[in-house]
């Protein structure tokens, strides 16, 4: 069924279709309408879920961690400083291997206070051990939320579904709400590998000593390093699962096909722009104009940021002369995080396109298509950069 609704409602509809059993969230702009919609669904009996109001984001994720440990399908959502307030639990959920799904409605981080969009919040959590997926429009939001539950539960790793605050969360677009029976077919009920049971008390994630040691039964239990190594190895293995789940989704719903990177005009492109989120769709207009000017440009929207799909990235960029990375986030004191990742991915191989970095749209600073056009055009025509520091677009000094 096609409806015209906001991005937040798209996310809430995905959570409803996925039959989440426990929802705990604390309202924060621009995530608020998403949690409000979910509480309405639960209140109206449209969702068989426990909606647990909490006093903070830290508690929201703590509730999800507890619920997930007992084998319930758990969901939360947040933005910016709310995400930062739950950071301790963010890392905990990954280390504990709990398949929680969380929407991060991307917003800039204070100070100074801002409620508008950039990507600094989710990017700051890229090393937490979660899988990070980014959506570019409303259809991708609802589809990705549904896929995220299957992915998280398959690999026992929590998943963040990130989408742009306001630009997607509060704008209205038509999108298809998948048929509930088909969603049930795609996403069976959550059968956890392990669930807490009062009849069999257990210690989960208690202190581990630096070395491995025998447990109370005398069996050798993994130590901290073994458990963390396992998380890393499984995150790398999860890349294949992302592709498998996308293929399964495509078969049932006839949508998808680009699990890692969504390319536009990249096949023969000499110059490829890379970015996260809805910006990649804005850049399509820029690519169209540059093509008319005779410049072979393309744009790639990264869907999977962690684990980083190096192989797909290198394959995409191998034949390009230049790569331009547009980022709404920055590793302060260094460069854009995605810029660093892309250069690192290219380094071992023979392909060496030049790679440039532009920082833009921080705290909701308007990204003008004309500025993007000018920047992208100049970046291509001027060739390799003599300096490796990121340039800022739209800065008024």
């Amino acid at each position: 069924m096609h409806i015209i609704e906001s991005g937040n409602v798209a996310a809430a509809s995905g959570v409803k279709l996925a039959r989440a059993q426990v929802i705990a969230a604390y309202p924060i702009t621009p995530q608020t309408p998403l949690t409000e919609k979910l509480s309405e669904f639960v209140d109206a009996g449209e969702m068989q879920a426990e909606y647990i109001p909490v006093e903070s984001e830290h508690s929201a994720l703590a509730v999800c961690i507890a619920a997930s440990s007992t084998g319930a399908r758990a969901f939360t959502a947040t933005s910016a400083n709310g995400l930062l307030y739950m950071v301790e639990q963010v890392h905990w959920a990954a280390g504990a291997r709990l398949p929680i799904v969380m929407c991060v409605v991307n917003r800039g981080i204070g100070a100074p206070w801002t409620v508008w969009n950039d990507h600094q919040d989710s990017i700051s959590q890229r090393d937490a051990g979660w899988i990070q997926l980014y959506a570019c429009d409303h259809q991708q939001i609802i589809d990705t939320v549904i896929q995220a539950f299957l992915l998280a539960e398959t690999v026992s790793i929590p998943v963040m579904v990130c989408y742009d605050g306001y630009l997607l969360s509060h704008t209205y677009m038509p999108f298809d709400v998948p048929d509930p029976d088909k969603v049930d077919e795609f996403l069976p009920a959550f059968k956890p590998a392990y669930a807490l049971d009062p009849k069999q008390p257990a210690n989960l994630n208690t202190v581990t000593l630096p070395d491995i040691r025998p447990d109370v039964r005398g069996n050798l239990a993994p130590g901290y390093m073994e458990i963390r190594h396992n998380l890393h190895v499984d995150l790398r293995r999860a890349i294949d699962k992302v592709a498998e789940i996308d293929a399964r989704f495509q078969k049932i719903f006839n949508r998808g096909g680009h699990p890692f990177i969504e390319p536009y005009c990249c096949e023969d492109a000499d110059f490829i722009a890379v970015c996260l989120g809805s910006l990649s769709y804005q850049l399509r207009d820029v690519v169209d104009e540059l093509r008319e000017e005779g410049l072979k440009a393309g744009v790639a929207g990264l869907r999977l940021y962690r684990p980083f799909p190096e192989q797909a990235m290198v394959e995409l960029l191998a034949k390009a002369k230049g790569v331009v990375v547009f980022e709404k986030a920055l590793s302060y004191g260094n460069q854009g995080a995605l810029f660093t990742d892309i250069k690192a991915a290219l380094y071992p191989g023979p392909a060496r396109p030049f790679v440039k970095n532009f920082i833009l749209g921080l705290g909701g600073r308007e990204i003008k298509t004309a500025d993007l056009l000018k920047t992208f055009r100049e970046a291509c025509t001027q060739g390799p950069a003599s300096i490796d520091t990121p340039q800022w677009i739209g800065l008024k000094l």
Binding site: L150, E153, L187, A202, N203, V216, I227
Partner: protein, 101 residues
């Protein structure tokens, strides 16, 4: 739908002594029960056992006299603090180790 080949290594254990390894090696002070003062030892009655009750590691036995498992006792001093007749003395490990050698 969880794939059994994922999350093979998790921190999961059952409650019991020694779940954090042999914590006896953490001990700086060793609790030693003076049976001449200890109430159950003196009266031959199943009485008191504050040390057994309060030990956070469950390493004191509820027996006459109570005994302490030094493989796991981490020397926190709670038993000595809770003993109503000050029958538990905390002695420096270094001194005892020297003597035992």
């Amino acid at each position: 739908m969880s794939d059994a080949t994922f999350a093979c290594k998790k921190s999961h254990s059952e409650p019991g002594p020694g779940d954090a390894g042999k914590t006896g090696s953490w001990r700086v002070l060793r609790p030693i029960i003076n049976v001449n003062l200890c109430i159950p030892a003196k009266t031959n009655k199943m009485a008191c056992f504050n040390c057994w009750l309060y030990c956070p590691d469950g390493v004191v036995t509820r027996t006459i006299p109570p005994t302490i498992n030094y493989e796991y006792c981490k020397g926190c001093e709670i038993c000595a603090e809770e003993c109503p007749v000050a029958a538990i003395q905390m002695v420096e490990e270094t001194k005892l180790i020297k003597k035992e050698k």
